[in-house]
Assembly symmetry: C2
Homo-oligomer: 200 residues x 2
């Protein structure tokens, strides 16, 4: 398998983290999104949406969208629930992540870490939206150790990716004690890697 | 089952359409999003995110996020693919729908049909984003009858919901012949219902 990737991307990190949990070997291909490398004709032939992460299987078939990729890799492992309802609950949280959480928290982080002045006005709207997503997580974690079921699943991996770097987007997590202990719970996994850890 | 719903919502329509395909009976509970009925304490106890559609099972368990709900209802039916890769491809398109398509096309439609003047400036950004999503669909449909596999799946249902009313968001579909024939293909289903059809 090949993973087309950009190291600071939380969406790509979801895939790297699950690959580490599962001990899967893969070829890591770094693309520089700032140099337009995801918009080359070669890459767009693999993913018309021009985005990383992209997983290429050994037979050449390609899969895009971080949460679809981790679903594919997790099926049949402990990281994908077994009951239909819990599977749907995991997807509920993953759609929440892509609709409410990532477009606020990841985008605010992107604008801040690359100091994109032309987009700094967006932060005024992104900040309350990001806190609203964090509020929903904090409420859920008040009486749950994990997002779905008794252990970590793809839902935790999807939500961990940008929550643990929310500070880089200007979000103050000190008001979220349940989220902070859950972040520690996730990073205590014996196969944990950091977002900055370059795969071998 | 109970479906908490708002008739003009494309996200809710996905659930109604699949329920019709599958011949499932359910209680339909209409909430008025403009009167804040999705933000009442009673409703937020069922869905902390305060959104429709929400599916309540007979045992009281609740499921949110339109695409997670249709996954749950479709599992084990012809509308959810059987191979792991095709399942992941269906989810790829459903995450594309919630990340690239709905936030542009559904939001532009919402601003236009309710004539929300305070948000009309957003249309300048939403319009090119919506057309970019339609371009990706048009390219895929150039050599595919359906989004995944040989027949309609949850991916088609998810993308049909707001594409068939994209005109209400100011999008001109006449430049998208592949999308237009696919829309006809979807609506030719013998159990098709319209977004305006109130469930019995």
């Amino acid at each position: 398998m090949k993973l087309y990737d950009y190291l600071p991307s939380g969406n790509s990190y979801k895939v790297r983290l699950l690959m580490s949990y599962l001990g899967l070997a893969y070829e890591h291909i770094d693309l520089d999104i700032h140099k337009g490398e995801t918009h080359s004709d070669d890459f767009k032939a693999k993913n018309p949406a021009g985005q990383i992460p992209l997983l290429e299987l050994s037979d050449g078939r390609c899969l895009a969208e971080s949460n679809a990729i981790i679903f594919f890799l997790a099926e049949g492992t402990p990281y994908w629930p077994t009951s239909a309802f819990d599977q749907a609950k995991a997807l509920q949280w993953m759609f929440f992540e892509q609709y409410k959480h990532e477009p606020a928290i990841a985008v605010a982080r992107f604008i801040r870490i690359y100091a994109i002045d032309s987009r700094s006005a967006e932060l005024e709207k992104l900040t309350p939206r990001g806190y609203a997503a964090l509020d929903v997580m904090e409420t859920h974690l008040a009486d749950h150790l994990w997002f779905v079921g008794p252990g970590p699943t793809v839902a935790d991996i999807a939500l961990y990716a940008y929550t643990h770097v929310a500070g880089e987007g200007g979000f103050d997590l000190s008001k979220y004690p349940n989220i902070l202990t859950w972040l520690d719970r996730v990073s205590d996994h014996p196969k944990h890697i950091r977002i900055t850890d370059r795969p071998d």
